[in-house]
């Protein structure tokens, strides 16, 4: 019962003191707003970089050319063998006729060439996509030595460098986001520390009259929570509207039609929730950390 009263009173007092110490609260809220804004934007960028990288990677595939002598049984046996390789995502069979048709559609000059042949000059193929572009090379090598395989090709050298560049960019964005989260935590914690420094006499009095440490900490923890939540409102609104507008203005992609932006619905809301949680958690722990200093009896 007593614990409940302390709990609810802490919530009430937290709201009260956010308003009573308005200028201090405002400083903390503004600090949270600015830093969380930066984190929110970096999350949007990182999310898109990641998705673009994944998109481009998935465009990369291995083409396996089958020997002309391969029978239907051999082909299906080979297909199951390729499917069993770790990292292979999809194996699509394309017969020479299908490929002829595709190429003829692409350019009529191909069609003319194909017409001059009795049998198709093309080989049957498997088009293989892998789950990670970095595995292209090793998987291609593995397939090359299988029976009935004439050759297994992917972009080789040029693709390798692109893949490396992608995974580098991916790692950099992740590190930047993590670093920004830490900087944010540090900045918010420190503004809260300053705000609580101004109220150390309040803590001193609470200790003096015999408030338990828990009863002293709780209102400050709730206050940090409120400040974190209030501080995350503006960044969340800005990124939701901002991203939707940018997405629509750009028609959903940048540079060319194959480089797609992430669809805003769900994505911006997910980022918004992350920012809200980040604000609340950093606010709470920031306050807790700041109060603790004054509780050493």
């Amino acid at each position: 019962m007593k614990a409940f009263r302390i709990f609810f009173r802490s919530i009430r007092d937290a709201f009260k003191s956010v308003f009573r110490n308005f200028s201090l609260s405002m400083a903390s809220i503004l600090c949270a707003t600015i830093t969380l804004m930066v984190v929110a934007i970096s999350l949007l960028i990182a999310g898109n970089v990641n998705s673009i990288t994944k998109d481009l990677e998935s465009e990369l595939s291995i083409v396996v050319y089958l020997e002309e002598s391969a029978k239907e049984d051999d082909i299906s046996f080979l297909e199951s063998k390729i499917k069993a390789i770790k990292g292979v995502e999809e194996v699509i069979y394309k017969s020479n006729e299908e490929r002829e048709l595709e190429m003829s559609e692409y350019s009529s000059s191909y069609a003319t060439i194909f017409e001059s042949y009795e049998d198709s000059p093309l080989l049957n193929t498997f088009i293989i996509t892998v789950d990670d572009a970095e595995k292209l090379n090793s998987i291609a090598e593995e397939i090359k030595v299988m029976d009935n395989v004439e050759s297994a090709l992917y972009g080789e050298n040029s693709v390798d460098t692109i893949v490396e560049a992608f995974s580098f960019i991916e790692k950099v964005t992740i590190i930047v986001v993590i670093a920004l989260v830490f900087v944010t935590a540090f900045l918010i914690t420190n503004t809260i520390k300053l705000a609580i420094y101004a109220r150390r006499s309040e803590i001193e009095i609470m200790r003096l009259v015999g408030a338990s440490n828990m009863a002293i900490k709780l209102p400050f923890v709730f206050e940090g929570f409120i400040i974190g939540i209030l501080g995350s409102f503006i960044p969340i609104i800005i990124i939701i509207y901002g991203y939707i507008i940018i997405y629509e203005k750009m028609g959903g992609h940048i540079i060319s039609n194959i480089v797609n932006l992430i669809n805003p619905y769900n994505f911006v809301f997910d980022v918004g929730i992350i920012i809200l949680l980040l604000g609340a958690i950093i606010g709470m722990f920031g306050s807790l950390n700041a109060v603790r200093k004054y509780l050493k009896i």
């Binding site: 007593k2 614990a3 009263r5 302390i6 009173r9 009573r20 110490n21 006499s201 309040e202 001193e204 009095i205 609470m206 200790r207 003096l208 009259v209 015999g210 408030a211 338990s212 440490n213 009863a215 002293i216 050493k296 009896i297």
Partner: protein
Amino acid sequence: MKFIELKNVNKTYSTGVTALADMSVVIDKGEFVFVIGHTASGKSTFIKMLYREEKPTKGSVVVGGVNVAKLRNGRVYKLRRKIGVVFQDFKLLPKLTVYENVAFALECLGMKEKEIRPKVMKAIEIVGLKEKVRSFPHQLSGGEQQRVCIARAIVNEPKLLICDEPTGNLDPETSKEIMKVIDSINKDLGTTVIMATHDKDIVNRMKKRVLLIEHGVLTGDYLKGSYKSHESV
């Protein structure tokens, strides 16, 4: 009846200053005791030992049957609930009214609103500040602010009231009135009072037990009324 007992207490601060040396004293329930001595003699250190703001380096400090020296940090608050403390600087919260400042002490403890109200009103009445319950500290005189502090210190009906120079910032007239309040708390409520002070007049006039501390050593313990205006204070 024994209420406070210090046995061979030593206090050396981390700076190497020895503020108290081999101090032993017994204070009974309901006593009124002045603690006097020059500046830096160790009065505040003695007082801080009682409510466990400082731990003795050596010796034992027993308050109400509890050895305060051995009390774990996490349990100190239980001791504090039985002790009221008043200081020279009032330590009031500037944004709370008189009522709220006094009620704050009980709210921190998780007491019910219904129980808080009569206790707070009673404490405010004892210190004679009924007309000012809705005032803020900056609207009060120094003497009135000190009354609020006393009300806050006694609102939870502590067995012990500790005052460290409560009249230090007040003029003689106001000091007298504050002393009347403290004296009546001692007499009417039976609260044990320990008060450190520099004020000769108060000590000479009130004829209470006096502890004299010099350079951290208890050099005099004058029983009630036996203290005759000491030159050195």
